[in-house]
């Protein structure tokens, strides 16, 4: 089995692991970490495909590799934005819960 196949198969598992955490972990920060794991799984799969595209004296296809650099930077920007949203959520509600608000009738006077 070639190196790129090993990493391509590992990437498939990373996507699954990330997806599990995204659904099963209740805390938003843990969901964010899981989503990043899932995203890197997609990146590694794409990188393995780039390696398969080695041709013309290059060790890998440079087009997907360049897109990967773009992707990593954009993923960081999105993560920073999510962290800022999360910190604001906690600042204004004192809780990081994503659970649905109880219906207005059950809340009662505050």
């Amino acid at each position: 089995m070639s190196v790129e196949t090993v990493f391509a198969l590992a990437a498939c598992a990373l996507v699954g692991i990330g997806l599990y955490g995204l659904i099963a972990q209740p805390h938003p920060l843990r969901k964010l970490v899981a989503f990043n794991v899932m995203g890197t799984g997609v990146f590694v799969l794409f990188g393995a495909l780039a390696r398969r595209g080695a041709a013309a004296g290059l060790a890998a296809d440079p087009v997907p590799q360049a897109l990967l650099i773009t992707a990593i930077v954009v993923a960081f920007a999105a993560t920073a934005m999510t962290v800022a949203l999360l910190l604001r959520l906690i600042e204004s509600t004192d809780s990081a819960s994503l659970a649905a608000e109880p219906p207005a009738d059950d809340v009662g006077p505050r």
């Binding site: 190196v3 790129e4 196949t5 090993v6 391509a8 198969l9 590992a10 990437a11 990373l14 996507v15 699954g16 692991i17 990330g18 997806l19 599990y20 955490g21 659904i23 099963a24 972990q25 209740p26 938003p28 920060l29 843990r30 970490v33 899981a34 990043n36 794991v37 890197t40 799984g41 590694v44 990188g47 390696r51 398969r52 595209g53 080695a54 041709a55 013309a56 296809d61 440079p62 087009v63 590799q65 360049a66 650099i69 773009t70 990593i72 930077v73 954009v74 993923a75 960081f76 920007a77 920073a80 962290v83 800022a84 949203l85 910190l87 604001r88 906690i90 990081a96 819960s97 659970a99």
Partner: protein, 312 residues
């Protein structure tokens, strides 16, 4: 190359991924994710993506790790409550089945990949000379797929505007985060004085070498941003006020230079972001030099976060 090393790296990677997803303590999860990011750069080296490895180590492992560690520290108090609403057995079973299903489909796709591998490498090599740069990835980023890079730069600015817009009304225009105080004779303050000159040289070298060797503006900009953040964390400088005009001009300067060069291409080469052959290298350098300060500012400011202190 023997795949045994790759197999070990892949297994370690999976173990760290599982760790950072399922471990109970959020700090341990994030610490695992930082190690995961560093291991991932090793994967990129094994896949012959040195430029990607440098970006991953700098941004994926470094900046994202610092961002998440900072968030964990501020979210300490909410962890226990979140744990009490953890998903039940049913949801976890569904999540497991869904994850296994997605993985299985992806594995089938990987095993069924077409035999004559589609690749754009020959086209890149054939046309790289016309751009005047030696690193094919820089050629793709700044010539063949320059529009992607332009949109990425704009995404960064929009993300920063999004982060800033989350500041409470009372502190709009103020400084992000807390003013750091460190022992002026301590090791952090010492490193914050010792490392920046070296880091600045390395960052600019990576930026300049990116034309012909692995490296480039993103990797260089991350190192420069890290140096600035180090100085802030050691309390030697405060985070900037976000209503500073020069700062805001710097944040939008890069995309504006990029768009200006693109329009110049419309006039001189007949296409937006087109470069006339003899002017390709100078125009690419103009974009790179114009983008660099913006990238340093935006990466550092994204890490600083939303303003939290009023203007003083």
């Amino acid at each position: 190359m023997t795949p045994v090393v790759s197999l070990i790296v892949a297994l370690l990677l999976l173990a760290l991924a599982v760790w950072s997803v399922v471990v109970r303590d959020a700090f341990l999860a994030v610490a695992g994710f930082v190690a995961y990011g560093l291991l991932l750069s090793l994967v990129w080296v094994r896949l012959f993506g040195l430029d990607v490895a440098l970006t991953e180590a700098a941004i994926g492992g470094g900046l994202t790790g610092a961002l998440l560690l900072g968030a964990v520290a501020r979210l300490r108090g909410t962890e226990a409550a979140a744990w009490s609403e953890r998903s039940g057995f049913g949801l976890r079973t569904v999540a497991t089945l869904l994850a296994l299903g997605v993985t299985a489909v992806l594995v089938l796709c990987v095993l069924a990949l077409p035999a004559p591998v589609p690749t754009l490498a020959p086209q890149v090599v054939a046309n790289l000379d016309a751009t005047g740069v030696g690193n094919p990835i820089t050629g793709v980023l700044l010539a063949f797929r320059a529009l992607d890079t332009l949109l990425e730069a704009i995404v960064l600015v929009i993300a920063l505007a999004g982060v800033w817009s989350l500041s409470p009304d009372g502190v709009w225009g103020g400084r992000p985060g807390v003013r750091h105080h460190a022992d002026p004779d301590g090791v952090l303050a010492y490193l914050a004085r010792l490392l920046p000159p070296i880091g600045i040289v390395v960052g600019i070298y990576l930026f300049w070498a990116g034309a012909d060797h692995p490296g480039g503006k993103f990797q260089g900009a991350t190192i420069l941003a890290a140096m600035w953040l180090l100085v802030q964390m050691a309390g030697l400088a405060d985070s900037p006020r976000i209503d500073h005009r020069g700062l805001r001009a710097g944040v939008v300067a890069g995309p504006l230079v990029f768009i200006a060069v693109g329009l110049l291409g419309l006039w001189s080469a007949g296409a937006f972001l087109g470069y006339p052959p003899q002017w390709a290298k100078p125009m690419i350098v103009a974009v790179e030099v114009g983008m660099m300060p913006t990238l340093v500012l935006v990466l550092a400011l994204l890490l600083n976060g939303a303003p939290a202190r009023s203007r003083r």
